[in-house]
């Protein structure tokens, strides 16, 4: 049993297990509800995947290095607003400015953490509120519209049936993240920093560079995600954007990230995001009320958290022998 939980922790195997689960959901809905997943459903699943995915990827990288970036939700909102406001001079320019702000925000927060020796939760909570506040100031708390509708159309036109520009960019980011973590020295250094920061420093890893880099990427991805969504909707609002924070955290944990650092992989996180998106869309297609969605997602997270628990097999065994003892004594 312990070996099984260890296997589940391997990112690739975990991704496979999660995808199997997804296939099961599809099969069950096809057999019992007669719902066949068509290209339209899959397209909407991937749109959802794109929105949460980039935020979860950035957050997941900060979790992997042993920190926690709460500010992604604020940067997501700020990125969307900045992209739409500045984007009137050209959408690419707007996108670039949004991403640059994301990078700057990440770097500033990381430097504060390193220089002052502070905890990332405290700093990024400040970041979350600050970025959201700036978005409110920039937009005067109203939604801003983007006039060039052709951009929105380009964003949402299906590519190869199920993909869109947004989901393709997201998938590309996940693949790049996977390569970075598995096949480069920087990836190993990030995992080492999350695994045992002191050891990494002693071995010669520049842990502060790694931290700054990861937070810069996290900020950039959150801003990018917000900008892409806002272009897709042709509008941005400091309040109107749906909350991405909780789904992103859920996806990281589903995907095998450990809040104590050193564990997690972009491919696992991608699988986690996809499962969340599919569960959500699947339930909608099945006609289940949205309020039940939260219960299903919550239950799923609980199951995963229990399966991830340390020494699960041992505890189950103890529990079993305890029960047997009780029964035996009766």
């Amino acid at each position: 049993m312990t070996s099984i939980s260890r296997l589940i922790a391997e990112p690739i195997i975990r991704a496979c297990v999660l995808f199997l689960f997804v296939a099961l959901v599809f099969a069950v809905s096809a057999v019992f509800a007669g719902v066949v997943v068509d290209a339209t459903t899959m397209f909407s699943v991937l749109q959802n995947f794109a929105m949460i995915g980039l935020v979860a990827l950035g957050l997941g990288l900060t979790v992997l290095i042993g920190e926690f970036d709460l500010s992604v939700a604020g940067m997501f909102i700020l990125g969307g607003c900045v992209a739409v406001i500045v984007g009137s001079n050209g959408p690419v320019f707007g996108l670039a400015v949004a991403v640059l702000i994301g990078i700057a925000g990440g770097i500033i927060q990381a430097l504060l953490m390193i220089r002052l020796g502070l905890n990332s939760v405290a700093i990024t909570l400040g970041g979350l509120l600050t970025f959201t506040g700036i978005a409110h100031v920039l937009t005067e708390s109203k939604s801003v519209l983007f006039n060039d509708l052709s951009v929105a159309l380009a964003m949402n036109v299906p590519v190869l049936g199920v993909f869109s520009l947004r989901s393709l960019i997201t998938i590309a980011c996940f693949l790049a993240g996977g390569v970075l973590i598995t096949y480069t020295r920087i990836g190993r250094d990030i995992v080492a920093t999350g695994s045992n920061r002191h050891a990494a420093r002693v071995a010669g890893v520049s842990t502060s560079h790694m931290l700054v880099g990861v937070f810069a990427v996290s900020g950039a991805l959150a801003a990018l995600s917000g900008a892409l969504l806002s272009f897709g909707l042709s509008a941005a609002s400091p309040t109107g954007l749906s909350n991405v924070m909780i789904p992103a955290i859920a996806a990281v944990i589903l995907g095998g990230g450990s809040l104590s650092g050193g564990v997690g992989h972009p491919i696992g996180i991608a699988a986690g995001v996809l499962v969340l998106a599919i569960v959500r869309s699947g339930l909608t297609v099945l006609g289940v009320s949205p309020s039940v969605h939260e219960i299903v997602t919550g239950a799923l997270l609980l199951v995963v958290a229990i399966l991830d628990g340390p020494a699960l097999g041992e505890r189950l065994y103890q529990f079993k022998s305890m029960v047997t003892l009780r029964v035996g004594s009766i």
Partner: protein, 500 residues
């Protein structure tokens, strides 16, 4: 031969404390050079300066005969200087392969796995880890294997100078042999190694030259072949014992605490001893000897400890802190910040923290009785009563230690368990703490303590039990205690017996 690494007239201060005074050191290519000295002699400060962790206040470092500063650890790596620290530095979630290459500047961004695997394999074979899978997660290795992986890490970096800080402290005999053969192999390849160890047997067996430091100053640098073990010990100690230690009292030797068959898996292999009231028993041993663990086990902090403990003729259950408190057996930890005191609370709250029963009135914790108790204890342990409201963390190490001891003083005498009673305590307060311990003994307390400060052991203890790797070596009474015998016992008793 031109020294490959050299330190000239290095001085280093930490505040008012002079860690190094005009120290020089040099090591030639292909030599294993032992760096010896007691705790606090300045060994680690010198090593930190030569590996770029610290900068000297005065003096020069030379690499390959040229004056060359060592800016930081990255710079040291570029200068082909490697360091294996005493504490383990493994990233537990990464594979063995990744740990071997961790932090190496030579690895290309997109690594060529095959070449890296091959070189890592060769380094691991060299340190005797041929059986280990490269893909195994490093966190699942035994401690000794982790230490060997760290040495392999230095080997793939092709270092010219390698500092090894007590690399055998936590290893088994077989693993020590692997480390030794790795060191000999590196020496054949012309590498220089600086070997820091308290185990004199290892120094005599393995090393070519030895440099001894004492109180931050050079004592001697010589070929190992030209010096006897006894002379080595003499140079390390080298000072007469001062008047720091109080006269031993003459309390009756009624048995107070008797321990039989104390065992901790992997740490202590069956330990028997007894302490009468009025005496200070010191368990002396290096790191890994089990001395500290024995005291922690008695304090109920080691969950897998077994053995029989009899206090005043009544058996005592191991592992329950609550029972210990009831029977007046108290523990003073060496780690004051971690498990000794509540540094954020006031001095008086700290005094009262373990004696709520004494200060409680009608089930309530009222300020007046707390203050009364704190004033009484502060008087006994000589802490200035004006500081009772101060934050405990703002006091000096010496005062903190007095509070930690004061907290253990109960109505009726008990047993005091202490690890390193004067760690981080300056000289003046040290003498006061010794006097306090003696005073408590004269009132009927018994003390079981550990110390790695040899001078302290010799000066303070009534009985010394020397330990080596989990077992007792010998037990000395007051008249038989001598620094050189203890040092020989705790460094490498087997080689000692063979030599004798």
């Amino acid at each position: 031969m031109m020294p490959v690494i050299e330190a000239r007239n290095i001085s280093k201060n930490f505040g008012r404390f002079q860690a190094l005074r005009n120290v020089s050191f040099s090591a030639a290519p292909g030599e294993v050079h032992a760096l010896c000295g007691e705790n606090g002699a300045g060994k680690s400060t010198l090593v930190k300066i030569l590996t770029g962790v610290l900068q000297p206040d005065d003096g020069q470092t030379l690499i390959g005969g040229e004056v060359h500063g060592i800016a930081d650890t990255q710079h040291a790596q570029a200068l082909k200087i490697g360091y294996v620290s005493q504490e383990l530095s493994i990233a537990p979630h990464l594979s063995v392969l990744d740990n071997v290459w961790l932090g190496c500047r030579g690895v290309p961004l997109l690594h060529r796995r095959n070449e890296l695997r091959e070189r890592a394999r060769r380094a691991l074979n060299l340190v005797g880890l041929a059986h280990l899978s490269l893909e195994r997660r490093a966190g699942t290795l035994a401690l000794g294997e982790q230490q060997l992986v760290e040495i392999a890490r230095m080997m793939v970096r092709d270092v010219a100078v390698l500092f090894l800080d007590e690399p055998t402290a936590t290893l088994s005999d077989r693993e020590i042999e692997c480390v030794f053969s790795a060191i000999r192999e590196l020496r054949r390849n012309g590498k220089t190694m600086i070997y820091i160890s308290h185990r004199l047997g290892e120094v005599m067996d393995l090393c070519d030259r030895v440099t001894i430091l004492r109180n931050g100053e050079n004592v001697i640098s010589t070929d190992v072949a030209d010096i006897s073990r006894g002379k080595l010990v003499e140079h390390m100690l080298g000072r007469s014992l001062s008047e720091m230690y109080p006269q031993a009292g003459g309390m009756s030797s009624v048995g107070a605490l008797e321990i039989r068959g104390l065992m901790v898996p992997g740490k202590i292999r069956g330990l028997d001893f007894a302490v009468p009231r009025g005496k200070i028993l010191c368990l002396a041993g290096q790191m890994g000897s089990g001395a500290t663990e024995a005291v922690r086990a008695l304090a109920g902090l080691v969950h897998d400890a077994t053995g029989s403990v009899v206090l005043d003729g009544m058996p005592l259950k191991l592992g329950s802190v609550h029972t210990l408190l009831e029977r007046n057996m108290r523990f003073v930890s060496e780690d004051r910040a971690g498990e000794g005191l509540f540094l954020n609370l006031s001095v008086e709250e700290n005094f009262a923290a373990t004696q709520f029963d004494v200060v409680r009135r009608f089930g309530l914790l009222l300020p007046a009785p707390v203050r009364e108790l704190a004033e009484r204890l502060a008087d006994i342990v000589t802490v200035n009563p004006d500081r009772l409201r101060s934050r405990c963390g703002d006091l000096s190490g010496g005062n903190q230690q007095k509070i930690a001891i004061g907290r253990c003083i109960t109505p009726g005498s008990g047993i005091l368990l202490m690890n390193e009673p004067t760690r981080g305590v300056d000289v003046g307060a040290r003498a006061e703490i010794y006097a306090l311990m003696r005073q408590l003994c004269d009132q009927g307390y018994a003390v079981v303590m550990t110390s790695t400060d040899l001078e302290e052991v010799v000066g303070l203890a009534d009985m010394v039990l020397t330990m080596y790797r989990g077992a007792r070596v010998s037990l000395y009474g007051r008249d038989e205690i001598s620094a050189s015998r203890i040092l020989l016992d705790i460094t490498h008793p087997l080689t000692y017996e063979n030599a004798a």
